[in-house]
Protein backbone atom coordinates (compact mmCIF):
# COMPACT_ATOMS: atom_id res chain seq x y z
CA UNK A 1 0.00 0.00 0.00
CA UNK A 2 1.23 3.45 -0.83
CA UNK A 3 1.94 6.02 1.79
CA UNK A 4 -0.79 8.58 1.45
CA UNK A 5 0.79 11.68 0.01
CA UNK A 6 1.60 14.16 2.70
CA UNK A 7 0.33 16.83 0.33
CA UNK A 8 -3.25 16.78 1.70
CA UNK A 9 -3.80 20.37 2.73
CA UNK A 10 -7.39 20.16 3.84
CA UNK A 11 -6.69 18.75 7.29
CA UNK A 12 -7.35 15.17 6.29
CA UNK A 13 -10.42 13.00 6.61
CA UNK A 14 -9.10 10.38 8.97
CA UNK A 15 -11.70 11.06 11.65
CA UNK A 16 -14.53 10.35 9.21
CA UNK A 17 -12.86 7.18 8.10
CA UNK A 18 -12.30 6.07 11.67
CA UNK A 19 -15.91 6.74 12.50
CA UNK A 20 -17.12 4.64 9.61
CA UNK A 21 -14.70 1.82 10.52
CA UNK A 22 -15.52 2.13 14.20
CA UNK A 23 -11.94 1.25 15.14
CA UNK A 24 -8.83 3.27 15.74
CA UNK A 25 -5.38 1.76 15.92
CA UNK A 26 -3.17 3.06 18.70
CA UNK A 27 0.61 2.76 18.55
CA UNK A 28 1.97 1.84 21.98
CA UNK A 29 5.51 1.11 23.04
CA UNK A 30 5.26 -1.33 25.90
CA UNK A 31 6.36 1.24 28.43
CA UNK A 32 4.75 1.22 31.83
CA UNK A 33 2.84 3.34 32.72
CA UNK A 34 2.25 5.10 29.40
CA UNK A 35 1.01 2.29 27.26
CA UNK A 36 1.58 -1.41 27.76
CA UNK A 37 0.20 -4.92 27.94
CA UNK A 38 -0.69 -5.93 31.46
CA UNK A 39 -0.38 -9.29 33.12
CA UNK A 40 -3.79 -10.36 31.88
CA UNK A 41 -2.73 -9.70 28.31
CA UNK A 42 -4.95 -6.62 28.14
CA UNK A 43 -3.54 -3.40 26.83
CA UNK A 44 -3.77 -0.40 29.08
CA UNK A 45 -1.74 2.56 30.30
CA UNK A 46 -2.18 6.24 30.90
CA UNK A 47 -2.32 7.22 27.23
CA UNK A 48 -4.50 4.39 25.91
CA UNK A 49 -7.02 4.91 28.70
CA UNK A 50 -7.31 8.59 27.78
CA UNK A 51 -7.51 7.70 24.11
CA UNK A 52 -10.27 5.15 24.73
CA UNK A 53 -12.43 7.80 26.37
CA UNK A 54 -11.75 10.53 23.86
CA UNK A 55 -12.26 8.37 20.78
CA UNK A 56 -15.49 7.04 22.17
CA UNK A 57 -16.68 10.61 22.47
CA UNK A 58 -15.48 11.31 18.93
CA UNK A 59 -17.65 8.43 17.73
CA UNK A 60 -15.02 5.69 17.41
CA UNK A 61 -16.06 2.98 19.85
CA UNK A 62 -13.21 0.50 19.46
CA UNK A 63 -9.50 0.91 19.99
CA UNK A 64 -6.98 -1.62 18.76
CA UNK A 65 -3.46 -1.67 20.19
CA UNK A 66 -0.45 -2.00 17.95
CA UNK A 67 2.51 -2.65 20.21
CA UNK A 68 5.81 -1.64 18.74
CA UNK A 69 9.24 -0.55 19.77
CA UNK A 70 9.55 3.04 20.90
CA UNK A 71 11.93 3.84 18.06
CA UNK A 72 9.42 2.58 15.50
CA UNK A 73 6.51 4.70 16.71
CA UNK A 74 7.04 7.69 14.45
CA UNK A 75 7.99 5.70 11.33
CA UNK A 76 5.08 3.40 12.05
CA UNK A 77 2.64 6.27 12.35
CA UNK A 78 3.88 7.90 9.18
CA UNK A 79 3.58 4.67 7.27
CA UNK A 80 0.05 4.05 8.57
CA UNK A 81 0.75 1.09 10.78
CA UNK A 82 -1.52 2.86 13.24
CA UNK A 83 -3.48 6.09 13.41
CA UNK A 84 -2.32 7.67 16.65
CA UNK A 85 0.78 7.35 18.79
CA UNK A 86 -0.55 6.81 22.25
CA UNK A 87 2.60 6.18 24.20
CA UNK A 88 3.10 9.30 26.30
CA UNK A 89 5.62 10.54 23.78
CA UNK A 90 7.49 13.70 24.78
CA UNK A 91 6.84 16.64 22.54
CA UNK A 92 10.02 18.22 21.21
CA UNK A 93 10.99 20.21 18.12
CA UNK A 94 12.67 17.31 16.30
CA UNK A 95 9.59 15.17 16.62
CA UNK A 96 7.34 18.08 15.70
CA UNK A 97 9.13 18.16 12.37
CA UNK A 98 7.93 14.64 11.70
CA UNK A 99 4.45 14.50 13.22
CA UNK A 100 1.90 16.77 14.86
CA UNK A 101 1.02 16.52 18.52
CA UNK A 102 -2.03 17.03 20.62
CA UNK A 103 -1.53 19.32 23.58
CA UNK A 104 0.30 17.49 26.32
CA UNK A 105 -1.76 15.41 28.72
CA UNK A 106 0.97 15.29 31.35
CA UNK A 107 4.29 16.82 32.20
CA UNK A 108 6.99 15.06 33.98
CA UNK A 109 10.47 15.35 35.26
CA UNK A 110 13.13 12.68 34.98
CA UNK A 111 14.26 10.26 37.65
CA UNK A 112 16.91 7.60 37.92
CA UNK A 113 17.06 3.98 38.92
CA UNK A 114 20.17 3.56 41.05
CA UNK A 115 21.49 0.87 43.31
CA UNK A 116 19.97 0.73 46.77
CA UNK A 117 21.16 3.63 48.88
CA UNK A 118 22.38 5.49 45.79
CA UNK A 119 26.07 4.73 46.51
CA UNK A 120 27.37 7.10 43.84
CA UNK A 121 25.04 9.82 44.98
CA UNK A 122 23.55 10.50 41.55
CA UNK A 123 20.69 12.99 41.40
CA UNK A 124 20.91 14.58 37.98
CA UNK A 125 22.77 14.33 34.68
CA UNK A 126 25.63 16.55 35.85
CA UNK A 127 26.32 14.11 38.67
CA UNK A 128 26.61 11.30 36.15
CA UNK A 129 28.99 13.28 34.00
CA UNK A 130 31.17 14.44 36.88
CA UNK A 131 31.40 11.04 38.52
CA UNK A 132 31.89 9.27 35.21
CA UNK A 133 29.10 6.90 36.15
CA UNK A 134 27.85 4.39 33.58
CA UNK A 135 24.50 5.60 32.35
CA UNK A 136 21.80 3.52 30.71
CA UNK A 137 18.55 4.58 29.11
CA UNK A 138 16.04 3.38 26.54
CA UNK A 139 16.20 3.37 22.75
CA UNK A 140 15.18 6.77 21.38
CA UNK A 141 14.32 8.10 24.82
CA UNK A 142 14.44 11.88 25.21
CA UNK A 143 16.79 11.28 28.13
CA UNK A 144 19.61 10.65 25.62
CA UNK A 145 19.37 14.28 24.58
CA UNK A 146 19.33 15.55 28.16
CA UNK A 147 22.43 13.57 29.01
CA UNK A 148 24.24 14.70 25.87
CA UNK A 149 23.48 18.26 26.90
CA UNK A 150 25.71 17.99 29.97
CA UNK A 151 28.47 16.36 27.96
CA UNK A 152 27.85 12.63 28.24
CA UNK A 153 28.63 10.96 24.94
CA UNK A 154 25.96 8.76 23.43
CA UNK A 155 28.61 6.16 22.73
CA UNK A 156 29.28 5.90 26.45
CA UNK A 157 25.65 5.19 27.23
CA UNK A 158 24.10 1.78 27.44
CA UNK A 159 21.04 1.87 25.22
CA UNK A 160 18.53 -0.72 26.36
CA UNK A 161 15.27 -1.90 24.87
CA UNK A 162 13.14 -1.01 27.89
CA UNK A 163 12.98 -0.05 31.54
CA UNK A 164 12.90 -3.64 32.78
CA UNK A 165 16.23 -4.25 31.12
CA UNK A 166 17.34 -1.00 32.74
CA UNK A 167 16.38 -2.13 36.19
CA UNK A 168 18.23 -5.41 35.71
CA UNK A 169 21.27 -3.60 34.35
CA UNK A 170 21.42 -1.45 37.48
CA UNK A 171 20.76 -4.38 39.80
CA UNK A 172 23.55 -6.36 38.17
CA UNK A 173 25.97 -3.49 38.05
CA UNK A 174 26.13 -3.31 34.27
CA UNK A 175 25.09 0.32 34.64
CA UNK A 176 25.18 2.72 37.57
CA UNK A 177 22.04 4.51 36.62
CA UNK A 178 19.06 4.12 34.34
CA UNK A 179 17.42 7.39 33.32
CA UNK A 180 13.74 7.62 32.48
CA UNK A 181 10.64 9.54 33.30
CA UNK A 182 9.65 9.65 36.96
CA UNK A 183 6.60 7.49 36.69
CA UNK A 184 8.30 4.92 34.47
CA UNK A 185 11.20 4.33 36.79
CA UNK A 186 9.11 4.36 39.96
CA UNK A 187 6.68 1.90 38.44
CA UNK A 188 9.24 -0.62 37.34
CA UNK A 189 11.02 -0.56 40.67
CA UNK A 190 7.69 -1.11 42.36
CA UNK A 191 6.52 -3.78 39.90
CA UNK A 192 9.64 -5.86 40.33
CA UNK A 193 9.72 -5.11 44.06
CA UNK A 194 13.44 -4.60 43.66
CA UNK A 195 15.58 -5.28 46.70
CA UNK A 196 18.74 -3.97 45.19
CA UNK A 197 17.71 -0.85 43.35
CA UNK A 198 15.65 2.22 44.02
CA UNK A 199 14.25 5.20 42.16
CA UNK A 200 15.59 8.68 42.86
CA UNK A 201 13.56 11.82 43.44
CA UNK A 202 12.41 13.57 40.27
CA UNK A 203 14.62 16.38 39.03
CA UNK A 204 14.63 18.98 36.30
CA UNK A 205 16.58 18.31 33.13
CA UNK A 206 18.12 21.05 31.02
CA UNK A 207 18.67 21.57 27.32
CA UNK A 208 20.98 24.32 26.16
CA UNK A 209 21.12 25.50 29.72
CA UNK A 210 17.37 26.08 29.91
CA UNK A 211 15.07 23.85 31.92
CA UNK A 212 13.46 21.40 29.54
CA UNK A 213 9.91 20.59 30.17
CA UNK A 214 9.21 16.96 29.53
CA UNK A 215 5.61 16.88 28.49
CA UNK A 216 3.99 14.17 26.48
CA UNK A 217 1.01 13.99 24.18
CA UNK A 218 -0.57 12.06 21.34
CA UNK A 219 1.01 12.16 17.90
CA UNK A 220 -0.80 12.24 14.54
CA UNK A 221 0.28 12.25 10.96
CA UNK A 222 1.12 15.80 9.88
CA UNK A 223 -1.80 16.12 7.47
CA UNK A 224 -4.44 15.02 9.95
CA UNK A 225 -4.92 18.37 11.66
CA UNK A 226 -8.69 17.99 11.83
CA UNK A 227 -8.47 14.86 13.90
CA UNK A 228 -5.82 16.41 16.13
CA UNK A 229 -7.98 19.49 16.71
CA UNK A 230 -11.05 17.43 17.55
CA UNK A 231 -8.94 15.39 19.92
CA UNK A 232 -7.61 18.53 21.59
CA UNK A 233 -11.12 19.81 22.21
CA UNK A 234 -12.08 16.69 24.13
CA UNK A 235 -8.73 16.66 25.96
CA UNK A 236 -9.19 20.19 27.18
CA UNK A 237 -12.69 19.40 28.45
CA UNK A 238 -11.31 16.49 30.44
CA UNK A 239 -8.53 18.56 31.89
CA UNK A 240 -10.99 21.18 33.04
CA UNK A 241 -13.38 18.73 34.63
CA UNK A 242 -10.57 16.89 36.42
CA UNK A 243 -11.60 13.70 34.64
CA UNK A 244 -8.12 13.43 33.21
CA UNK A 245 -6.45 13.15 36.59
CA UNK A 246 -9.05 10.61 37.68
CA UNK A 247 -8.24 8.42 34.70
CA UNK A 248 -4.48 8.53 35.07
CA UNK A 249 -4.21 8.44 38.85
CA UNK A 250 -4.17 4.59 38.94
CA UNK A 251 -1.02 4.69 36.84
CA UNK A 252 0.91 6.67 39.44
CA UNK A 253 0.21 10.16 38.11
CA UNK A 254 -0.54 13.01 40.50
CA UNK A 255 -1.61 16.63 40.32
CA UNK A 256 2.09 17.40 40.04
CA UNK A 257 2.06 15.90 36.53
CA UNK A 258 -0.89 17.89 35.19
CA UNK A 259 -0.11 20.72 32.79
CA UNK A 260 -1.65 23.53 30.74
CA UNK A 261 1.23 23.80 28.29
CA UNK A 262 0.43 23.56 24.58
CA UNK A 263 2.07 21.57 21.85
CA UNK A 264 2.88 24.83 20.08
CA UNK A 265 5.01 26.02 22.97
CA UNK A 266 6.82 22.70 23.22
CA UNK A 267 7.51 22.48 19.51
CA UNK A 268 9.52 25.68 19.34
Amino acid sequence: SRVSGSGAKDGGNLLERLRSQGTVRLGIAGEIPFGYIDEKGEFTGEAPEIAKVIFKRLGVPKVQPVPTEFGSLIPGLRSQQFDVVSAGMYINPERCAQVIFSDPDYRMRDAFIVRKGNPKNLHNYEDIFKKKAKMATGTAYAEIGYAEDVGIKQSDMLILPDQLAGLLAVEQGRADVFAGTTVTVHNVVKQRNSQRAEATEPFQAYVDGKPDIGAGGFAFRPEETKLRDAFNVELHKMKKSGELLRIVRPFGFTKEEMTDLTAKELCS
Binding site: S1, R2, V3, G5, G30, I32, Y36, I37, D38, E39, K40, G41, E42, V66, P67, T68, E69, S72, P75, G76, R78, S79, Q80, Q81, P161, D162, L164, Q191, R192
Partner: protein, 250 residues
Amino acid sequence: MTAGLWENWLLPGVWITIQLTLYSAIFAAVVAFGIGIARTSPLWIVRFLTGFYVEVFRGTSALVLMFWLFFVMPLAFQYQLVPMWAAVLALGLTYGAYGSEIVRGAIAAVAPAQREAAIALSFTPAQRMRRVILPQAIPEMIPPFNNLLIELLKATALVSAVSVADITFAAQLSRLATGDSLEIYAIILVLYFVLAFVLTRLMRLLERRAKAGIGQAPVKSGKGPLITRKLSARQEAEQSSNIITAGGAQ
Protein backbone atom coordinates in the same frame (compact mmCIF):
# COMPACT_ATOMS: atom_id res chain seq x y z
CA MET B 1 1.93 -16.65 32.21
CA THR B 2 -1.71 -15.81 32.45
CA ALA B 3 -4.45 -17.12 30.25
CA GLY B 4 -4.94 -13.61 28.90
CA LEU B 5 -1.38 -13.38 27.64
CA TRP B 6 -1.67 -16.79 26.03
CA GLU B 7 -4.97 -15.98 24.40
CA ASN B 8 -4.28 -12.46 23.28
CA TRP B 9 -0.67 -12.66 22.31
CA LEU B 10 1.19 -15.94 22.52
CA LEU B 11 -1.16 -18.19 20.57
CA PRO B 12 -1.84 -15.57 17.89
CA GLY B 13 1.95 -15.19 17.84
CA VAL B 14 2.37 -18.88 17.08
CA TRP B 15 -0.11 -18.53 14.26
CA ILE B 16 1.73 -15.49 12.89
CA THR B 17 5.01 -17.39 13.01
CA ILE B 18 3.47 -20.29 11.12
CA GLN B 19 2.01 -17.95 8.51
CA LEU B 20 5.28 -16.12 8.15
CA THR B 21 7.19 -19.35 7.69
CA LEU B 22 4.69 -20.56 5.14
CA TYR B 23 4.54 -17.38 3.07
CA SER B 24 8.28 -16.81 3.21
CA ALA B 25 8.92 -20.41 2.27
CA ILE B 26 6.61 -20.19 -0.73
CA PHE B 27 8.13 -16.91 -1.83
CA ALA B 28 11.65 -18.22 -1.25
CA ALA B 29 10.85 -21.37 -3.22
CA VAL B 30 9.64 -19.31 -6.17
CA VAL B 31 12.78 -17.19 -6.02
CA ALA B 32 14.97 -20.26 -5.57
CA PHE B 33 13.59 -22.03 -8.61
CA GLY B 34 13.46 -18.90 -10.74
CA ILE B 35 17.00 -17.87 -9.97
CA GLY B 36 18.39 -21.39 -9.76
CA ILE B 37 17.09 -22.30 -13.20
CA ALA B 38 18.03 -18.95 -14.70
CA ARG B 39 21.59 -19.53 -13.56
CA THR B 40 21.83 -22.43 -15.97
CA SER B 41 20.80 -20.16 -18.84
CA PRO B 42 22.95 -20.14 -21.97
CA LEU B 43 22.84 -16.31 -21.98
CA TRP B 44 25.73 -14.86 -20.04
CA ILE B 45 23.83 -11.74 -19.09
CA VAL B 46 21.12 -13.78 -17.39
CA ARG B 47 23.72 -15.83 -15.56
CA PHE B 48 25.56 -12.67 -14.55
CA LEU B 49 22.50 -10.87 -13.22
CA THR B 50 21.19 -13.85 -11.30
CA GLY B 51 24.66 -14.57 -9.97
CA PHE B 52 24.84 -10.96 -8.82
CA TYR B 53 21.50 -11.28 -7.11
CA VAL B 54 22.65 -14.38 -5.25
CA GLU B 55 25.90 -12.81 -4.10
CA VAL B 56 24.16 -9.67 -2.89
CA PHE B 57 21.45 -11.41 -0.93
CA ARG B 58 23.75 -14.01 0.50
CA GLY B 59 26.00 -11.18 1.50
CA THR B 60 23.44 -9.14 3.37
CA SER B 61 22.10 -9.82 6.76
CA ALA B 62 18.38 -10.60 6.67
CA LEU B 63 17.86 -8.44 9.74
CA VAL B 64 19.50 -5.44 8.13
CA LEU B 65 17.48 -6.04 4.98
CA MET B 66 14.32 -6.17 7.05
CA PHE B 67 15.11 -2.86 8.72
CA TRP B 68 15.90 -1.42 5.34
CA LEU B 69 12.61 -2.51 3.85
CA PHE B 70 10.76 -1.28 6.92
CA PHE B 71 12.42 2.09 7.42
CA VAL B 72 14.08 3.09 4.16
CA MET B 73 11.67 1.89 1.53
CA PRO B 74 8.77 4.11 2.58
CA LEU B 75 10.98 7.18 2.54
CA ALA B 76 12.99 6.37 -0.53
CA PHE B 77 10.26 5.06 -2.78
CA GLN B 78 7.13 6.34 -1.14
CA TYR B 79 6.09 2.76 -0.91
CA GLN B 80 5.14 1.07 2.28
CA LEU B 81 4.69 -2.60 2.97
CA VAL B 82 2.85 -3.68 6.06
CA PRO B 83 5.47 -5.13 8.41
CA MET B 84 4.34 -8.66 7.79
CA TRP B 85 5.00 -8.37 4.07
CA ALA B 86 8.23 -6.48 4.55
CA ALA B 87 9.31 -9.44 6.65
CA VAL B 88 8.16 -11.99 4.08
CA LEU B 89 9.96 -10.05 1.37
CA ALA B 90 13.21 -9.88 3.34
CA LEU B 91 13.13 -13.53 4.33
CA GLY B 92 11.99 -14.70 0.91
CA LEU B 93 14.64 -12.76 -0.97
CA THR B 94 17.42 -13.88 1.33
CA TYR B 95 16.47 -17.51 1.69
CA GLY B 96 15.52 -17.62 -1.98
CA ALA B 97 19.12 -16.75 -2.76
CA TYR B 98 20.35 -19.63 -0.61
CA GLY B 99 17.72 -21.94 -2.05
CA SER B 100 18.70 -21.07 -5.60
CA GLU B 101 22.11 -22.55 -4.91
CA ILE B 102 20.46 -25.78 -3.82
CA VAL B 103 18.35 -25.80 -6.99
CA ARG B 104 21.36 -25.10 -9.15
CA GLY B 105 23.40 -27.78 -7.43
CA ALA B 106 20.68 -30.39 -7.80
CA ILE B 107 20.18 -29.55 -11.47
CA ALA B 108 23.90 -29.80 -12.07
CA ALA B 109 23.89 -33.18 -10.32
CA VAL B 110 21.43 -34.71 -12.80
CA ALA B 111 23.46 -36.90 -15.13
CA PRO B 112 24.41 -34.96 -18.27
CA ALA B 113 23.41 -38.02 -20.25
CA GLN B 114 19.80 -37.34 -19.29
CA ARG B 115 20.02 -33.99 -20.97
CA GLU B 116 21.52 -35.61 -24.03
CA ALA B 117 18.83 -38.25 -24.17
CA ALA B 118 16.25 -35.48 -24.03
CA ILE B 119 17.97 -33.61 -26.86
CA ALA B 120 18.01 -36.81 -28.89
CA LEU B 121 14.23 -36.94 -28.50
CA SER B 122 13.96 -33.35 -29.75
CA PHE B 123 12.52 -31.86 -26.58
CA THR B 124 12.72 -28.09 -26.39
CA PRO B 125 14.96 -26.65 -23.68
CA ALA B 126 11.89 -25.83 -21.58
CA GLN B 127 10.50 -29.35 -21.99
CA ARG B 128 13.87 -30.81 -21.08
CA MET B 129 13.91 -28.81 -17.87
CA ARG B 130 10.31 -29.45 -16.92
CA ARG B 131 9.91 -33.04 -17.95
CA VAL B 132 13.32 -34.58 -17.49
CA ILE B 133 15.72 -32.52 -15.39
CA LEU B 134 13.54 -31.07 -12.65
CA PRO B 135 11.62 -34.24 -11.83
CA GLN B 136 14.95 -35.89 -11.13
CA ALA B 137 16.51 -32.93 -9.38
CA ILE B 138 13.66 -32.11 -7.01
CA PRO B 139 13.86 -35.20 -4.79
CA GLU B 140 17.54 -34.44 -4.30
CA MET B 141 16.70 -30.93 -3.18
CA ILE B 142 14.39 -31.91 -0.38
CA PRO B 143 16.91 -32.74 2.35
CA PRO B 144 18.89 -29.52 1.92
CA PHE B 145 15.62 -27.63 1.61
CA ASN B 146 14.57 -29.14 4.90
CA ASN B 147 17.62 -27.63 6.53
CA LEU B 148 16.96 -24.32 4.91
CA LEU B 149 13.35 -24.39 6.03
CA ILE B 150 14.40 -24.81 9.64
CA GLU B 151 16.78 -21.90 9.22
CA LEU B 152 13.90 -19.91 7.81
CA LEU B 153 11.66 -20.81 10.71
CA LYS B 154 14.35 -19.62 13.08
CA ALA B 155 14.84 -16.47 11.08
CA THR B 156 11.17 -15.54 11.43
CA ALA B 157 12.00 -14.55 15.00
CA LEU B 158 13.71 -11.51 13.49
CA VAL B 159 10.38 -10.02 12.50
CA SER B 160 9.77 -9.15 16.13
CA ALA B 161 12.35 -6.42 15.58
CA VAL B 162 10.03 -4.68 13.14
CA SER B 163 7.06 -5.17 15.42
CA VAL B 164 5.34 -8.08 13.76
CA ALA B 165 3.53 -9.82 16.58
CA ASP B 166 5.07 -13.28 16.21
CA ILE B 167 6.01 -15.64 19.03
CA THR B 168 9.13 -13.74 19.92
CA PHE B 169 7.33 -10.43 19.97
CA ALA B 170 4.62 -11.89 22.15
CA ALA B 171 7.35 -13.08 24.46
CA GLN B 172 8.72 -9.57 24.73
CA LEU B 173 5.30 -8.20 25.66
CA SER B 174 4.77 -10.96 28.18
CA ARG B 175 8.14 -10.35 29.68
CA LEU B 176 7.26 -6.70 30.24
CA ALA B 177 3.87 -7.62 31.59
CA THR B 178 4.99 -10.23 34.07
CA GLY B 179 8.59 -9.23 34.63
CA ASP B 180 9.48 -12.91 34.39
CA SER B 181 12.01 -13.71 31.69
CA LEU B 182 12.97 -17.30 32.39
CA GLU B 183 9.54 -18.82 32.10
CA ILE B 184 8.50 -17.05 28.96
CA TYR B 185 11.71 -17.60 27.03
CA ALA B 186 11.89 -21.23 28.06
CA ILE B 187 8.34 -21.68 26.81
CA ILE B 188 8.93 -20.15 23.43
CA LEU B 189 12.22 -21.93 22.86
CA VAL B 190 10.30 -25.16 23.28
CA LEU B 191 7.57 -23.87 20.97
CA TYR B 192 10.12 -23.21 18.25
CA PHE B 193 11.67 -26.61 18.76
CA VAL B 194 8.30 -28.28 18.37
CA LEU B 195 7.60 -26.34 15.19
CA ALA B 196 11.00 -27.33 13.82
CA PHE B 197 10.32 -30.93 14.68
CA VAL B 198 6.96 -30.94 12.94
CA LEU B 199 8.40 -29.26 9.85
CA THR B 200 11.18 -31.80 9.64
CA ARG B 201 8.73 -34.65 9.89
CA LEU B 202 6.63 -33.19 7.11
CA MET B 203 9.66 -32.74 4.88
CA ARG B 204 10.67 -36.31 5.58
CA LEU B 205 7.28 -37.48 4.40
CA LEU B 206 7.64 -35.37 1.28
CA GLU B 207 11.08 -36.77 0.63
CA ARG B 208 9.87 -40.31 0.90
CA ARG B 209 7.04 -39.67 -1.53
CA ALA B 210 9.27 -37.83 -3.98
CA LYS B 211 11.83 -40.63 -3.96
CA ALA B 212 9.11 -43.20 -4.44
CA GLY B 213 7.87 -41.13 -7.38
CA ILE B 214 11.06 -41.74 -9.31
CA GLY B 215 11.19 -45.42 -8.60
CA GLN B 216 13.79 -45.18 -5.85
CA ALA B 217 13.41 -46.98 -2.61
CA PRO B 218 12.77 -44.56 0.23
CA VAL B 219 15.85 -44.10 2.38
CA LYS B 220 15.67 -45.53 5.83
CA SER B 221 16.04 -42.84 8.41
CA GLY B 222 18.36 -45.06 10.39
CA LYS B 223 20.12 -43.66 13.37
CA GLY B 224 20.78 -39.95 13.25
CA PRO B 225 19.85 -37.39 15.85
CA LEU B 226 16.31 -37.16 17.06
CA ILE B 227 15.31 -34.38 14.83
CA THR B 228 16.54 -36.07 11.73
CA ARG B 229 18.72 -33.45 10.21
CA LYS B 230 21.11 -35.89 8.83
CA LEU B 231 24.70 -34.95 8.49
CA SER B 232 24.66 -36.14 4.94
CA ALA B 233 21.86 -33.78 4.16
CA ARG B 234 23.81 -30.97 5.69
CA GLN B 235 26.82 -31.82 3.65
CA GLU B 236 24.78 -31.95 0.51
CA ALA B 237 23.46 -28.54 1.31
CA GLU B 238 26.92 -27.28 1.91
CA GLN B 239 28.31 -28.75 -1.21
CA SER B 240 25.54 -27.76 -3.49
CA SER B 241 25.43 -24.25 -2.17
CA ASN B 242 29.17 -24.14 -2.27
CA ILE B 243 29.02 -22.09 0.84
CA ILE B 244 27.26 -22.41 4.14
CA THR B 245 23.79 -21.02 4.19
CA ALA B 246 22.88 -22.94 7.25
CA GLY B 247 22.10 -20.24 9.72
CA GLY B 248 23.38 -18.19 6.97
CA ALA B 249 21.38 -15.18 6.53
CA GLN B 250 19.51 -14.47 9.63
